[in-house]
Point group: C3
Chain length 441, copies 3
């Protein structure tokens, strides 16, 4: 499954294993994350230990961000529904998903009929606890398996949610890895989902591994902007503070989400559909030795909604394994640590890394001589002319035929039908031979 | 068959029924129309009674119009071929088509052999009287069923055509319905065909109904230029008088022809093939709930020949039911009132009206906020986040994703896969919510 | 197989028969050509007798041409391998291909084992002598059938090559046929292959016939630059002396190679793929009444490598019969005079001639009147209007619909689905009628 032809120049020692990413996910899984609050801060703190330079920002509740306002901070301490005997028949301590996210505090006795409107379950998946939130309208509620719900007997129930909704802060993490150039590549993942694995701990842990790899590179041509945000409000807040700079500098970006299972690969293009991010992702996935599903931008559902909105219009695409919304465990308690695997996380990591290697390698080349150079005298072309010439010579001559200072490396690779990193190796060989020069700044 | 999602804002009480249009056609059918003359004037007078503001123009014979010259006016009073016993065996009084259009006067006795070169019939359709004209070369002739022709016995025949070809005028009707803007939409139909129904009384009666509908609209964004001309020379004369203004202002136009039968729908694109007229017609036909035949511009044969000629190059397409030249009754006495129907005319009317509704609705929109607006606080987005979101929300978010001040409504509707008038309703909702603004002047 | 609709205006008496071209090939076949030397000069001298005005250029060894240097001149007088009894078991006198091109002199006795590294054969084609050269690295060697090689017995062999590699000249032939305009069409063929017929005597003899045809034309709109070069180094030298002028003036060009057999037709596009040369070739081949194989530019292998290199970027395509590298006899002694035929050469000639006729005819036309002109009064349109109109009238009206001063004749012909030379005839008719004018300079 490992793609061939890796560009040796930009590879470093591979110290990131799927096992390591999986351990991080196991550590983070039990934390009850939300848009804001202690669980989110605890998660960012864990990641900051892995990523020197990661800066955790505080944004006060009530701060305006374009059309939005940062909501109150939510703290959840306990939540349960007890029967008349005091038995906790729905218990937040057993699973974070049992409480509707951002539930306001409650402490009431209700009949079953009164309780029902506050309960959420999935008749088609009776064993699954659904993931439900109510960030922007005050509500309280509980989620549970539909089997359990149907087993509830008439009677009186004690609903208790020990939570606080009060002015506080919204947090996000930001890591800037400076490169030789000001051009930027964005990686964005989200850290607001409680106790679900593919969607969404896979994104944060794979992004962390990629960021470690990027930080260790001997050189980076581009600057990397890596953000860990609560979904939607987090990316909106982030854009409201960085939009102008990001519009000027971003050449490509990826939303990293649902990259942990081992079932398939998926691609969701940017709004424009033909940006560098799209081209790199398609080339990489097409040559990864595996099939992948390509979705429409109309199927989007995460922070690319904000990054690709008309006013931002950033070149941001999504590379995934099983896309959110498409697999049965999505947004339920079934999306647990058994759904992701070291191999699944490793696949997500490798595809994303390879995309970034491609962006690093993607220069514009121009031959230094009007006709074909005489490669024979440089040991790059056979001096004995017979009927056959090798594939390698053919690829090199084809690269020369298109390296006219206009197409980037990726476009040439697509035209001549080879892997872009093999194409980068050809360019490097010809540059060393003195017959090729990079013309991008 | 009625398309869904009609934009309520621009609909008015539907007082046009297929029955009414059919009655008009019945009234007009017996009149012997031609390029010029009393029959043409009588027809225009009838339509003027239905269309307040319709102005009937006179253009003197001999007037130059680009490469053409307005021919003499033709008046036909009687025409027949009689046998030696005085029996009228071909009689203009029985069918207008029996005389070749623009026949010069004649009063001669001939043998059958001498008569034959002046007779026209269709061996493949022995019962049909063909429609034959000779506008620009002096001739005389008669048309008849091939069965009748074959039954003619040797002998002497008396050919009489009581006609006048003399300087007079060419007439056409013109109705300008002013809108809020100077941008114009052209509707053109032709009124020179004698006693044929689909081609061509359907065009004039459907155009008349559409013009009544347009005139009654509470507001029109665009100005409507509606012309009833004799075919070819009429549109050339009209263009010679209005070309500069039409080139500057016309955003779309339709030649209205063959819109009366109930067999199929047809589309013939403009010369450029991708103008607003083409896009609107294709979108409307594709969503009309019925199949349609798309022809090539190379198959053109009516006044779009002039409107789309290189020197005019107007964005004019044709929406038809059974296209001229493709159905067996075409240009014969078989194209009679039994070929068209109230339902057929109604279908033509509805498609054309919907195209005009679309043009009225087709604005360019831009979101007022860089990221997604917060629709939840405006009651347009669910505040409880569960796994499913409805089709309506999805369409609205997709509209927001493309409304960046560049594509028109129609382009966005095509991209997000919904009907353009449903898209207009979304735009109106978002405009009312204060998060969307129209940027076209 | 002869295409229909030849433009009569630009045809001249056809004095070129396949038989004549075949006789020239027979005369030239025995000469031992190479990159340089007496055989190349003898060949150019023969062609100069057929082409008044052909100028043979001398370029001294050591001359720099971009990244290349003109090599020493090679003269070969004799070459053989003899056994101990003095029997010539490999003998250059029997076939030119027995000696590796550009072999340095040798006169040595060797064991069979010592001899083997200097021998070249094709195990898959045991009867064929392969064509092998070593222009830019000093070597000596012999080529022979693999059967013969396997039959060699252990023993001592006397290898003798009586050759000279010394400073001299490289030669090429150049014929400029001036036209009314400075715009140029390039024809390039190569004259360095010894004793092979399709690749490559067919190119020189067909080019010679086409040049004779061009020279005899009563008028030429464009200037024709016709070159006979040794492959690769010859085209590079030629470009190094003429590049600026060729870049400024060349509107189309063809490498003429492998045009002598009678099996198929082939097309290899230019680097850009949509130049005038490509469009003309595709139109002509598609309407030649025969199938053809279209190759990718990635399959190139002759002087288009230089003409289409990024620094030259000339609009040069290749029209062939069986493409080099694709037929079994390629680059062996089996590519002999039995492989080509008068009919094969004639097919190559006719396709190429028709392409040049098309380029001559390919003007930009504009109607002189805004609407359709009144063709009836000029005898070009029926004055009696019945249900049918002929194909000829339809083509003429379609030509009028697109002749707006923008597309060239070829583009209009493709749009309206007729042969470009039929389209030229329509344009000429309309020009004579005064309703059409050419707008290209």
């Amino acid at each position: 499954m490992m793609p061939k032809g890796l560009c040796q120049e930009i590879r470093v020692e591979d110290r990131h294993s799927g096992e390591e990413m999986y351990r991080w996910a196991c550590d983070l899984f039990p934390i009850c994350r939300s848009l804001s609050g202690p669980g989110l801060r605890q998660t960012l703190s864990y990641l900051a230990d892995l990523l020197p330079g990661l800066r955790v920002h505080d944004v006060p509740s009530g701060t305006a961000a374009f059309d939005w306002t940062v909501p109150d901070e939510w703290t959840i301490r306990d939540a349960y529904v007890a029967d008349e005997d005091g038995n906790r028949i729905i218990d937040f301590r057993r699973h974070n998903l049992h409480v509707v996210g951002y539930s306001e505090p409650v402490d009431r006795w209700l009949t079953l009929d009164e309780l029902q409107p506050h309960l959420h379950s999935l008749p088609d998946q009776p064993e699954a606890i659904p993931y439900v939130t109510s960030y922007y309208a005050r509500r309280w509620g509980f989620c549970l398996g539909d089997d359990r719900r149907k087993a509830l007997k008439p009677g009186r129930y004690h609903a208790v949610i020990d939570s606080t909704l009060a002015p506080g802060v919204l947090n996000y993490g930001e890591l800037i890895l400076e490169g030789e150039k000001e051009t930027e590549v964005l990686l964005s993942t989200y850290v607001c989902h409680p106790s679900m694995a593919n969607n969404e701990l896979s994104g944060p842990v794979v992004t962390t591994a990629v960021a470690q790899w990027l930080a260790a590179l001997p050189r980076r041509r581009h600057t990397y902007r890596i953000v860990f945000v609560p979904e939607t409000i987090g990316s909106i807040v982030y854009l409201s503070r960085n939009l102008q700079r990001m519009k000027e500098r971003t050449i490509a970006g990826f939303v990293v989400t649902c990259v942990g299972d081992d079932r398939t690969y998926s691609f969701l293009p940017s709004r424009r559909g033909d940006t560098l991010a799209d081209r790199v992702a398609r080339h990489t996935l097409a040559r990864s030795g595996t099939d992948y599903d390509e979705y429409s931008f109309l199927d989007r559902g995460s922070d690319e909604r904000q990054y690709c909105s008309p006013g931002a219009d950033l070149p941001v695409a999504s590379i995934m394994r099983s896309k959110y919304g498409t697999y049965p465990e999505y947004h339920t308690s079934l999306d647990d640590l058994s759904l992701i695997s070291p191999a699944g996380l490793d696949g997500g990591f490798r595809i994303l890394r390879r995309c970034l290697e491609t962006i690093e390698a993607n220069r514009v080349w121009e031959a230094t001589t009007p006709c074909e150079p005489q490669l024979g005298k440089r040991g790059l072309y056979p001096t004995l002319s017979t009927r056959e010439s090798g594939r390698q010579v053919r690829d090199m001559m084809n690269f020369l035929a298109y390296a006219d200072g206009e197409p980037d490396l990726l476009e040439i690779a697509e035209r001549i039908g080879i892997d872009v990193l093999d194409c980068a190796a050809i360019a490097a060989t010809l540059e060393r031979a003195g017959v090729m020069t990079a013309v991008d700044p």
